[in-house]
């Protein structure tokens, strides 16, 4: 937190929530056929949120902090604040929500139960923004659990046996995590009173930890366990590949913004804004977190190698990539902290692009396996290009966004005196390459074998008047997010680039 931070009571944080909550409730009430109105509401909410965020960024960067609070029970409030970190996450969600909404409108065109889908879709973003804006642990907990509940109908949306099974497993994992989180939050609140996030750690928590380090460690571990499920830390990651049954836009949102990112965000909040890095390191938990994150990074990558199902491969890739954030948060170095924070955005844009593309392949050509993608680059060049950009970014090649993350994390590892981090990053990069490069190669070069796929051996030509390779509402979001993947890498030095903002956010943790 900057010393010159000014806290202003304001309704704006609530308005930020309402921009998706109100559309959600209105959409629920719509009839199935009111497509235009529904799309309008969706887009209006999404655009309003983006505009609000853009307006707020300069103010918050300049040291203004907006705050709204409500009495919940006597002595314990529901608090929303826009500190730099929360706004950073809100910006990520708002941007990707807009892209995903456009994509989803096109993706679900003509399918049943769309009012239900978009209602919960908006609620999902509301919950994510609530998590971002939460000013204390209680508020964080409320929205964290809300997120679990509102994503359930999205995962189960199709109603098939597999969808219901995926939703059930998802629920079992995340509610289990919620139990741990509730325990941790309630316990810490009992010990130190309302736990308001504070960059660099809360003094009361530090005092408490000095008094009773064992209990503090247990509470910290329980809290991490609670958020670790959503962040898909090994061995709590089991739900993620199974939840792939959800429609593509949901997977995109789950992996890039909402669920796993909420978990990652929670890890950073708890480590840096509740306990503080120094205290966490003192309690010995920082090292433990680093080890778990490293194991998850390598494990996820290894498992991804073996998947032929494209979405499954991407899912294991998420398991691995999200743990970069946890790893960065677990290193005692300002540059690693910034690396963790910037990777939230970078991974978000890269992964959402990949899922958009996977959805495009599946929708347009009914391709869902890696082995079926041979030669698809010629039929869908734009989609394939977007996929390639995001995949290269994932591997960590310059000038794409992913490079910034890996570079910052590597430097941070050295800075923190933990050079083994470089080894983890290198291993992961090699594995990333090993499971992404073959896909890229297949898409662009492999001639399509006669024995598979359609009878003619070539993909059917697009059957739309525009002559585009896919519907515009699906294609454009993918292209846009892919461009951002390049932009975030190339323009990392710009005043408001994610990397610069991440450094500002990270500074707070290092008073």
């Amino acid at each position: 937190m900057n010393d010159d931070t000014v806290t202003v009571m304001s309704a704006l944080p609530v308005v930020l929530l309402l921009t998706s909550l109100v559309p959600a409730l209105l959409i629920f009430a719509l009839r199935e056929k009111q497509t235009v109105l529904r799309t309008t509401l969706n887009l209006a909410g999404a655009i309003a949120k983006v505009v609000l965020v853009i307006v707020l960024i300069p103010r918050v960067v300049a040291g203004e902090e907006l705050r709204a609070e409500f009495t919940w029970i006597p002595g314990l409030d529901i608090v929303f604040v826009t500190d730099t970190f929360s706004l950073f996450f809100v910006a990520l969600s708002a941007g990707l929500w807009l892209a995903t909404t456009i994509y989803a409108v096109g993706y679900l065109e003509g399918s049943p139960n769309r009012s239900r889908f978009f209602g919960f879709f908006s609620l999902c973003v509301t919950a994510t923004v609530g998590i971002a804006l939460a000013g204390n642990l209680l508020t964080f907990l409320i929205f964290f659990e809300l997120l679990t509940l509102v994503t359930y109908p999205l995962v189960a949306h199709r109603g098939t046996r597999a969808a219901l099974r995926g939703a059930r497993i998802y629920l079992a994992y995340t509610l289990g995590g919620g139990v741990a989180l509730l325990l941790g939050v309630a316990w810490l609140t009992l010990e130190v009173g309302p736990v308001e996030f504070r960059a660099g750690g809360i003094p009361e928590v530090a005092e408490f930890a000095a008094r009773d380090p064992l209990t503090a460690t247990v509470i910290g571990a329980v809290l991490l366990l609670g958020v670790g499920v959503k962040a898909a830390l090994f061995p709590l990651h089991g739900w993620l590949p199974i939840a792939m049954v959800a429609p593509a836009p949901v997977s995109a949102l789950l992996h890039a913004v909402a669920v796993v990112k909420a978990g990652a965000f929670g890890i950073i909040r708890i480590v840096e804004d509740v306990f503080g890095l120094a205290l966490f390191a003192e309690l010995g938990m920082l090292q433990a977190l680093a080890v778990v994150a490293s194991v998850t990074i390598v494990y996820g990558s290894v498992r991804a190698l073996a998947q032929d199902d494209l979405k499954k491969r991407l899912a294991y890739s998420t398991v691995s990539q999200v743990s970069y954030i946890a790893l960065g948060a677990a290193l005692l170095s300002p540059i690693a902290t910034a690396g963790a924070i910037v990777h939230m955005v970078n991974q978000g844009f890269m992964k959402i692009t990949l899922f958009f593309c996977a959805g495009l392949f599946a929708e347009e050509l009914k391709l869902s396996k890696v082995s079926q993608l041979a030669g698809v680059g010629r039929r869908m060049p734009v989609t394939s290009a977007a996929f390639t950009i995001a995949a290269l970014g994932m591997i960590g090649l310059p000038p794409f966004a992913g490079f910034i993350s890996k570079w910052a994390l590597g430097l941070g590892g050295l800075d923190a005196g933990q050079p083994w981090v470089i080894a983890v990053l290198l291993t992961s990069t090699v594995l990333n390459a090993a499971y992404f490069l073959p896909i890229i190669a297949t898409i662009w070069t492999s001639p399509r074998s006669e024995s598979e796929g359609s009878d003619e051996g070539t993909f059917p030509a697009p059957a739309r008047r525009s002559g585009w390779e896919a519907p515009a509402s699906l294609l454009l979001p993918a292209v846009a997010t892919a461009l951002f993947v390049i932009l975030f890498g190339v323009a990392a030095g710009w005043d408001y680039s994610p990397w610069v903002l991440a450094q500002i956010v990270g500074e707070g943790a290092w008073p």
């Binding site: 409320i142 809300l146 509730l182 325990l183 309630a186």
Partner: protein
Amino acid sequence: MSAAALVLVPVFLPLAVGALSAVLPRRAAATLTVIAAVATLMVAVLLGIAVLDAGPVRLEVAGWAPPVGILLAADGLSVVMIGLSAIAVLAATLVAAADDHFAGGHAFWPLVGAAAAAVNGVFVARDVFTAFVLLELLTIASVALVALGGTRSAAAALRYLFVAVTGSLFFLLAVALTYGHTGTVDLARAAERADDTVIVGAIIALTVVGMAAKTALFPLHSWLPVAHPAAPAAVSALLSALVIKASIVILWRIVEYFGPLTDLAAPLATAVGVAGAAAVLWGGVLALRRDRLKSIIAYSTVAQVGYMVLLVPLVFTASDPQVAWIGGILITLAHGVAKVAMFLAAGALATAAGTSRLDGLEGTISRMPWTVAAIGLAGVSLAGLPPTLGFVGKWMLVQASLDAGAWWWLALLLGGGLLTFAYTARMLRATFNPPGDFSGARELTRPARTVAIVPLALAALSVVLGLIPWLLIEVLSAAPMGGGA
């Protein structure tokens, strides 16, 4: 009219309306019952304001002070429970007025009036014998209401009657001991004069057994999953949401007044807690294994009763008993609101689908999304998940358990919620349908609009109260439990 006289309205208004309803045509009876429920709700608000202003509202009936006369008093607990009863009755009668299937016959109206009067009376009673008579009135009304479920419900109703009346006799024995030991049946006066550990322990033990039978606390629960589903839907809703609360409140009151007087209270409280824990697990597991909506919801009640009594051991061990009291009361309130919503919504689904079997509900989520949403939201509240009232209660009980270092109760509170949501999710899953598998396959009978709105409104109420629970907590703290009335 002084504020004190307000205490009588929740008792006599429904009673008079109930008596009138017996001889009035259905429309008039329904209208009057709904009006009475609204009026009761307003009186609850007024009483709440009075309690916030000046603490408990006391009324010496007929102008005779205890020990000769009867004292009624409304404290925070009374106020919020009367509010719950008004809301539950309002919801159930609105639905029953819209669709006769939910009522089961004309006698529904007078009997609901009697039941409402009896539970409200229990909430304000501070005289153990008056409480006994009120319990009997409630038993008579509830048993007859169950029997409205058709010929086959008679056996369930009779079984319920035997258990309930046996429970009452245990309580009457406790009343006799109270009188024998202290020479009065006024709670406060009896608590002042009681000085024999063994006798007071016996009074508590007898009340616990009697009320456990009437509330269906494990292991005396087996009548409930038979009786509640046998009744018409609006009756099931009232039985689960409201009727069992009367015996819970009596148990609480006895613990409140007599608990501090005897060393035997702590072991008894632990026994109650153990029974509650077993109820949570047993009810939850069985709810998971039933395949009819009403049966699942009834077992859910068995499980939830476990949470409602969990405050009993906690008030003896937590450093601030008020937190445990308020948490337990809020969980009970949340259960009431959610259970009415759930039973009414289940009734609507069953009516529409023509069956209450889970495997016959496929596709209802698309046709009746609001009704399914009501079940879902109600389940969220029962499971104690945010942002509902159930979460507030659970939060406070978790705080109290942590404070008391009561790890067993803590594990139960945390794990029980998962079980609750598991059977809720099971109900929800049954309503989904694979795409294309449903178009015109089976026409659903669409229920009346009210039938769809009421459960959802109640579910929404759980959320609203979950986000702004402080008002309830203020009212509950205005007259702390154990502070005397």
